[in-house]
């Protein structure tokens, strides 16, 4: 029995028209497949278009060429099978934590009386059971991410798209959030596409690590399988010998791209 691929980007190219009429190619010929139940991390230097690629998978952006297939069906409009965790704060500031989570169900037509207890259950499972009545501005950055995670997961999406979700958090909170994510993911193993600039985070979390070259016209230049055993503990796995070997191997490729990306971004500033 063959299971359909959850997300398949085939030669996807993403281009933007700049203000002065020139065309900027962000991503060139991206080929990427995420199997059902697979956790794939995309790593690349700043400005390489990894978030762009994620937005294409979400249907927020249309590729200029190539195709996007979700469970073997071409994607039209927004990807309704996917839950998206944003890097920036995306909670509704005028709703309490509980209402923010419940809205995911209410949109689908679940009556409020049924949505609220479920939302409370999800808040509890992300460790915020006691914070249901708080508004987002009364929560810390890490707590807001937990609410956002619950908001996405309550809809039970088949695919999780995550755009540097823990980027704005401090190092310790990131690790705690990483473990929380792995715990929740372990329960039903959704397909995950996780964008980050942090290679250690990528290896610790994912089944596969995909490396992108520096932009513009960035490409996927490497694809590694991470065979560290699951379930993993992010704190422990970093001490593993295999983890170090893999990190060294991937970093040798990534380093050049990071330097290139850095050089380009400083040149671009000088040119302006």
């Amino acid at each position: 029995m063959t299971t359909p691929t959850a997300v398949a980007l085939e030669d996807a190219k993403v281009a933007f028209r700049l203000g002065d009429g020139r065309v900027y190619t962000a991503v060139e010929k991206a080929h990427l497949a995420v199997a059902q139940g697979e956790f794939v991390a995309i790593v690349g230097p700043t400005g390489c278009g990894k978030s762009t690629l994620l937005n294409v998978a979400a249907g927020l952006l249309k590729p200029a060429a190539g195709s996007v297939r979700i469970f073997d069906r071409p994607l039209t409009g927004l990807n309704q099978d996917a839950g998206y965790l944003f890097q920036a704060d995306a909670l509704f500031p005028w709703k309490t934590a509980l209402d923010n989570v419940a809205i995911g169900l209410e949109i689908k037509g679940t009556p409020r009386t049924q949505a609220l207890p479920q939302a409370q259950k999800w808040l509890t499972s992300v460790g915020l059971g006691a914070f249901a009545g708080r508004y987002p501005h009364m929560l810390s950055g890490g707590q807001r991410k937990r609410v956002a995670l619950a908001q996405v997961l309550i809809r039970d999406p088949k695919i999780l798209l995550m755009d540097e979700p823990f980027g704005p958090l401090d190092a310790q909170t990131r690790q705690v959030m990483g473990n929380l994510l792995l715990d929740l993911w372990n329960a039903d193993r959704k397909a995950v596409l996780f964008v980050t600039h942090d290679l250690e985070e990528a290896i610790a979390l994912a089944d596969r690590v995909v490396i992108m070259s520096a932009g513009p016209s960035s490409r996927i230049i490497g694809d590694w399988r991470v065979s560290l055993p699951r379930p993993r503990d992010i704190f422990e796995v970093r001490l593993d010998k295999e983890f170090h070997a893999l990190h060294r191997e991937i970093w040798s490729v990534l380093k050049d791209e990071v330097m290139k990306g850095y050089a380009q971004s400083t040149h671009a500033v000088e040119a302006v």
Partner: protein, 262 residues
């Protein structure tokens, strides 16, 4: 500073001002009264005028009329502002077409419209309401327009990815955002509703606080003018206090609504 101390200091300012006013308008300094009673009256006369108004009950009718005009102006102006603001923000073409006219009308000092409104709507309350509406409408309109336009891109994308339809986006994203902008200008728009009413009354009417002040001025009754001003200030402060209560209730989710007031 503790609350009682602050309050004591605030009262002290009022006491000093009133005492200075009373002394300078009744006791000659170097053989000359610095604040001639004809132009400045004195606190005692002003106070007795206010007492007389309240004792005889005439003031209630005027206060009631001004309040009614302000409320009508606020409600009609806000409704119009919300509807048009929403419409313009969701239809950029409409907004672009009307843009120069909106700017033109908004640039016009609204006082010059008072005579026209008096001509069209008579000297009753509706000409004052109309003047207030022209003031309130633009404040609410600009805020709602801004509120709908400046919905955070991420929050909007999040709503879409959660599967919201256009109607649900309206209900859960655009509407609360626009309302929050509107409420943040609540003090200003309520204040302008009162301004519209009072200025309208002042320029031509048969009742209201503006009318009271204008009548006193007509007969050089300076005490009456000041008394009218004080009643008006107290009236505005009371309304403003009410607005603050409403705002605290409606904007609990906003950090500034709570933290701004210690």
């Amino acid at each position: 500073m503790s609350r009682p101390t602050l309050f004591a200091l605030q009262v002290l300012v009022a006491v000093v001002c009133i005492v200075l006013w009373q002394v300078l308008s009744t006791v000659p300094v170097f053989g000359k009264i610095l604040l001639p009673p004809f132009f400045f009256s004195n606190p005692f006369d002003v106070f007795s005028q206010i007492v007389k108004w309240f004792a005889s009950g005439v003031i209630w009718k005027h206060l009631g009329i001004t309040l009614a005009e302000s409320i009508l102006a606020f409600v009609i102006g806000s409704l119009g502002g919300v509807l048009v603001g929403f419409w313009f923000a969701r239809q950029p073409l409409v907004a672009a077409v009307f843009d120069p006219y909106v700017k033109m009308v908004n640039a016009l000092p609204r006082v010059v419209l008072a005579p026209i409104f008096a001509l069209w709507l008579g000297l009753g309350i509706w000409s004052k309401v109309a003047l207030g509406v022209t003031l309130v409408f633009f404040i609410v309109f600009f805020n709602v327009y801004q509120g709908v336009k400046e919905v955070s891109r991420t929050v909007l994308d999040n709503g879409r990815m959660l599967g919201m339809s256009e109607r649900q986006l309206m209900q859960h994203v655009y509407w609360p955002s626009a309302l929050s902008w509107m409420f943040s200008s609540l003090h200003t728009s309520v204040g302008f509703a009162v301004v519209g009413a009072v200025v309208g009354e002042y320029l031509g009417s048969a009742a209201g606080l503006g009318y009271l002040i204008q009548q006193a001025e007509g007969v050089f009754d300076v005490a009456g003018v000041f008394a009218g001003m004080f009643v008006l200030s107290a009236f505005v402060i009371l309304i403003d206090f009410g607005v603050t209560l409403v705002e605290r209730r409606l904007l609990v989710w906003r950090p500034t609504a709570l933290d701004g007031r210690g």
